[in-house]
């Protein structure tokens, strides 16, 4: 690449970039350090000793908030969203490549899902499931299904309305990545496979899939981490007492006044970094594989 302008510009831009990176990582490093605050330490520096006291107190729970079941729910939901995002985006990517009637409309719907404010989507899903509940209760009364009438509370929940809400957020990203992947994919590989007698399924399994696998891992990474972190779309869509970890976290920002919240921050960041690390490792491994010549 040709450098533009004088050397001085290069140095200044380098400084801007370095400051930006410091700006990105500085705050999070601060709370990583502060989460190891001593038992008498507070929310700010100085460090009063160095301990894992706040992790221990986090482990034993945060008073009324059942943080660990929220943690478990978020992990399970994140994994479900990840798998569905990869599968649905891959299929849709194939469909868009071949083309179908209404493709433009579907594409703009997906983009719209990304730019319609999350609170609006969440409100809509909340209202929809409320109306559905009312309809189910009314139907139960009408048909005399007393068992349903007595035991049914709501159809909204982590894996119904919650899952749907997250997918409206992750699928547009997945679809856009698939667009980028197939725009750069050379169809001559598939033609060659076909000429050599491969069936469509074999072409997909042995030619296309290995080449796009790193991108699929990337979509999975987006799926999990966007879900793991989602607040605004979840807020009205999770049902009662079904809060995910980030929802609980948002509530805790106003109530917790000790480094427990930093310990929780260190923990969730740890999960994120683990997922990112695994994904990058997998992408790297998948990229290297074609180099080992296949027979």
């Amino acid at each position: 690449m040709a450098a533009v302008g004088p050397r001085r510009a290069s140095i200044w831009l380098g400084v801007v970039f370095a400051v930006f990176v410091l700006f990105l990582y500085g705050p999070i490093l601060t709370i990583l350090v502060l989460s190891f605050q001593g038992p008498t330490g507070g929310l700010t520096f100085p460090m009063r000793g160095f301990s894992t006291h706040w992790f221990a107190s986090l482990w034993s729970g945060l008073g009324v908030v059942d943080i660990w079941s929220a943690f478990g729910r978020s992990i399970r939901l994140g994994l479900a969203v990840m798998v569905l995002t990869v599968a649905i985006s891959l299929l849709a990517g194939y469909a868009f490549r071949r083309g179908f009637r209404g493709a433009t409309f579907v594409f703009y719907t997906a983009v719209a899902s990304l730019i319609v404010p999350s609170i609006v989507v969440s409100l809509g899903i909340g209202v929809q499931f409320r109306l559905l509940d009312d309809a189910i209760k009314a139907a139960a009364r009408l048909l005399g299904w007393t068992w349903l009438g007595e035991h049914f509370t709501t159809s909204a929940g982590t894996f119904t309305s919650g899952l749907g809400a997250h997918l409206t957020w992750t699928l547009p990203f997945g679809l856009l990545i698939m667009f980028a992947v197939f725009n750069r994919f050379d169809p001559r590989y598939e033609e060659a496979a076909r000429d050599l007698g491969a069936s469509p399924w074999q072409t997909f399994r042995h030619v296309v899939l290995p080449m796009i696998a790193p991108s699929l891992v990337g979509i999975g990474l987006f799926g999990f981490t966007l879900s793991w972190d989602e607040v605004a779309r979840s807020s009205q869509a999770m049902g009662s007492d079904q809060n995910t970890l980030p929802l609980e976290l948002t509530g805790l920002t106003t109530t917790i006044t000790n480094p427990e919240i930093y310990a929780l921050g260190t923990l969730t960041t740890g999960v994120s970094l683990l997922v990112i690390g695994l994904s990058l490792f997998l992408i790297h491994a998948l990229r290297r594989r074609p180099a080992r010549a296949h027979p």
């Binding site: 690449m1 040709a2 533009v4 302008g5 290069s10 831009l13 970039f17 930006f20 705050p27 999070i28 709370i31 507070g42 929310l43 700010t44 520096f45 649905i88 299929l91 849709a92 194939y94 469909a95 868009f96 179908f100 594409f107 719907t109 990304l114 730019i115 319609v116 404010p117 609170i119 609006v120 989507v121 409100l123 809509g124 209202v127 109306l131 009312d134 997918l167 409206t168 699928l171 980028a180 725009n183 469509p200 399924w201 981490t225 972190d229 607040v231 605004a232 807020s235 009205q236 980030p246 976290l249 920002t253 106003t254 919240i261 921050g265 960041t269 994120s272 970094l273 990112i276 990058l280």
Partner: protein, 297 residues
Amino acid sequence: MERVHRGLTSRAAPYWQVAPLVLVFAIFFVMPLVLTAVVSTWRYNEYEMLPALVGSNYASVFTDCLAELPRLCLTFKTYLSTLRLCAAVWLATLLLGFAVAYFLAFHVRSLAWQMALFLVCTIPFWTSNVIRMVSWVPLLGRHGLVNSFAQEAGFTHAPIEWLLFSNFSVVVAFVHLYTMFMIVPIFNSMSRIDPALLEAAYDAGATGWQTLWNVIVPLSKPGIVIGSIFIVTVVIGDYVTIGVMGGQQIASVGKVIQVQLSYLQFPLAAANAMVLLAAVLVIVWGMTRLVDVRAEL
């Protein structure tokens, strides 16, 4: 066996392949928006929503808005302050995002370094937003690092109060969270610029600034527009970042809707949501006049 294989290539294939996507968006995006529009004309009481076709919710959104002109009513004030916040975040992320993308695209020579530094910028995007907001507390708080430094260095005697739970901290948090949305599309546009164009400009005697303004900025426009759409739509409907970083004290359109929802005033919140949606659509429509989004992928 042959029939299974034909499933992938038959003319019907794209339709079943796209069906799951269409189903998800139909059930969890289009239907909810339609129902929001419907419910926005309903009546409500403390317990339930009552089907009706009334304009009272919209009327209460715009209470006294015409009567009080030229003074601004509550809704207009809220929109104005939200839009000002949008403008501040947009300008900050645009300048920073453009500078970073420019550095990565034109001043980092090797592709490996380019990818590595790009990754460094994107990793925080995949970690928790709420935690990244909270992480400003030990820095900007009353006893935070910035304040202790300012006091020790003698810049100020009392702690600076406007650093945290203020418009300033909201903008800082937004820039921290979302500059990525600017960097990626702008970098994407810049990486397609043929270096020969820059050499041609240089050979023709253009200065660095002239090249930047007359060659690079116009060619980066699609990325700038896409990034701007992301930023503006994220900020205009936000209540989480504004809530946490504003100490729950700053009014915003999203916050109004969220408060009404917490009081179970669904039809009223729905009317507000429809107004917000209209505002967003007008802004996005205006921006897309400037560029063909689909050609850029």
